[in-house]
Amino acid sequence: MSIPILTLLVLVPLAGAIVASLLAKSSESMAKNVALVSSIATGLLSVWMLIKFPTGSAGFEFVSKHAWVSEWGISWHLGVDGISLFLVVLTGILFPLVIVGIDPHHDHKQYLVWMLVLESGVMGSFLSLDLFLFFVFFEIVLVPMYFLIGKWGYDQRVYAATKFFIYTMAGSAFMLVGIVATAFLARRDIGHLSFDLIEIAEKSNFAAGTGRWLFVGFVIAFAVKVPLFPLHTWLPDAHTQAPTGGSVILAGVLLKMGTYGMLRFGVYLFPEAAVWAKPVLLTLAVIGIIYGAIAATMQKDLKRLVAYSSVAHLGFIVLGTFALTNQAITGGVMQMVNHGISTGALFLMVGMIYERRHTRVIAELKGIQAVAPIFAGFFTLIMLSSIGLPGLNGFVGEFLVLIGSFATARWWVVAATTGVILAALYLLWAYQRVFHGEPEEANKSFAEITKREAMLLSVFVAAIVFTGVYPKPMLNRIEPSVKSLLEHVESHSNYKQPEIKAGE
Amino acid sequence: MFGLVVVPTPTWYLVLSAVLFSIGAVGVLVRRNPLVMFMCIELMLNAVNLTFVTVGRAMSDINGQAIVFFVMVVAAAEVVVGLGIIVSIMRRRSGVNVDDLTELKG
């Protein structure tokens, strides 16, 4: 592999950001072009990587490793496997769409710069195979997100941005201590100080107690990011106050950093502890599912409703992750991507509604279907995907999670299933209140979807339908990695996956 | 010669200096006039000097006295600086009292 494709994935958006920030203040269109070029280039690179990715490979591909802080055993170590593959692609595609599709209300140039920085950070987080490097990207993401929410958000933006920043940073505080402790404790087993994920995971042999503490440290950070109940309170605020583009990215990829982290840095590093913590995490996940759903039902604000639905959906992902079976984890990874697509699209549409009506209060929106039928059609499809209707992408992930978890976490699954029903309830009810009925005076002039918006949404819809109908290519690439992960877990703990019939 | 042959041991001196030091410290805490607070700091420094000399004698180490010499220089320089600052404040307004200095409150 001559081209360091992963390094490029991180650096291209960053380069775009730097170029754009150096442009004169007046040349906003120029900045937009720069942003487009670099984000689209990143997207293409990610797709190319997807194509090149050898199906069936369980290990890390396209690895790129260079010494960075040799004094501390830290290196620039990137790699991609089945688990991160689609998240990277999702990131690569979502960003150009957001940049093309949604314009901020002011200060375009700065907005674009922050977006590109954000993309670079997210890419880095998904690709890092070095604990330190991962932490750097994980943290650096906060800064652009903070500004995106704080500067381009709605009324309560500063409050929301600050809450987001502080919550996440507090979580990372534990993780940083955990990371350093991990590296130092693993030093005995490895022989030298190293922050390399693979090296630590394969060679280290933590005592049960130690591993559990470290695991807790990591999981707190990820739980905030996911967000797992009861650490979720920042999310509705951040989502509601963020600008549409910010919300899309936040829901689409940022939250996945938490669930991805749990898999990669929780389960992989501390298999024994993951097994140990399983009941607690599953319980929290299920509470999150039900609580998110109920809370969503109560919301008066459409965007807030979608935000709470995210809490519920991510609960499913966590459920899948810690059920610790092949199918459940595969389903969880699927669900990460699917949720990114469908919730991202939902936020996009909520944003469109707000653009038109300058309100998101459900009660004030009524009868939109009558004036904008195509718009309503798009919404319906995306909503159904979010509910998990068979044939659409949401179903595949959710179903795999539930099936896979049933063997190891039966009662939790039973409880979680109510979440599925509740999801149908709150989304359909919301749909009914917004789109059905006689349009009020203010909603009479609700504009139909524009061409640009339609094109934008079609990308999402295409992904929704394709994945729903034909998930096989995705599953083929995800499964080997998941399998090898679970083998790692089994070999490093006394946990054994229950036998289930193969071939889902 | 007077039938009383109690000779003060170093401990006596050390206790005296400890008491003196404490008096000085309390003085800094209770007085509000910076000049007097400042005098209390001098008391504390003197207590320290006494300790050094006593310890030096008890250990037959002349360095104890050498140190006191430096402390005295420091004390002198401190006074010059402190009074300089007080005078420069006084040139702007009259009546130096720590409680009257209220511009800085946070």
Binding site: - | V7, L14, G27, N33, F70
Partner: protein
Amino acid sequence: MELFVFVCASVMVLVGALGVIVRKHPVHAALSLVLTLFGIAVLFVAQSAEFLAAVQVIVYAGAIVILFLFVIMLLGVDKAENLQIEPLTGQRWIAGVVGLGMVGLLTTAVVSGSDVLRLRGLGIASSVAGENADANIQQLANSIFSDYVFAFEVTSVLLVVAVVGTVLLARRRTGKGIA
């Protein structure tokens, strides 16, 4: 007899010190300070530190307290402080408790610690011991210019700071920019 000297000097020291913190008037406080300083000087003599005793009187009584008095008189800060009004409620009580605590702790520390003061070095020459009247001073000078020669040089920087600083405080630049 050393007992007699010690008792007299300690009374001077303590009365002076208490005077500093209870006398209302700054001038009286300064005079009390002088009393303490003299007491300390006597205690220095009692411990064969004649040179320091002289320096103590010259520097402290002769320069430092004089400067204090100067400032008090020149600036008219001589209004008495009303000690009846407590600055902060309970502050005096707290300070008293703190003070007593400090006395207790420090006294315990020095009492229990002073038995470990061991003989080291060559001994301190006092005029009592030797026929050379300047022995104490020579010994001191040897210490200052060998062991502590660097410290001695640093004091020069310290004094430069004091001088430059007072110049800075006294200086008034009327011309903005280039004079």
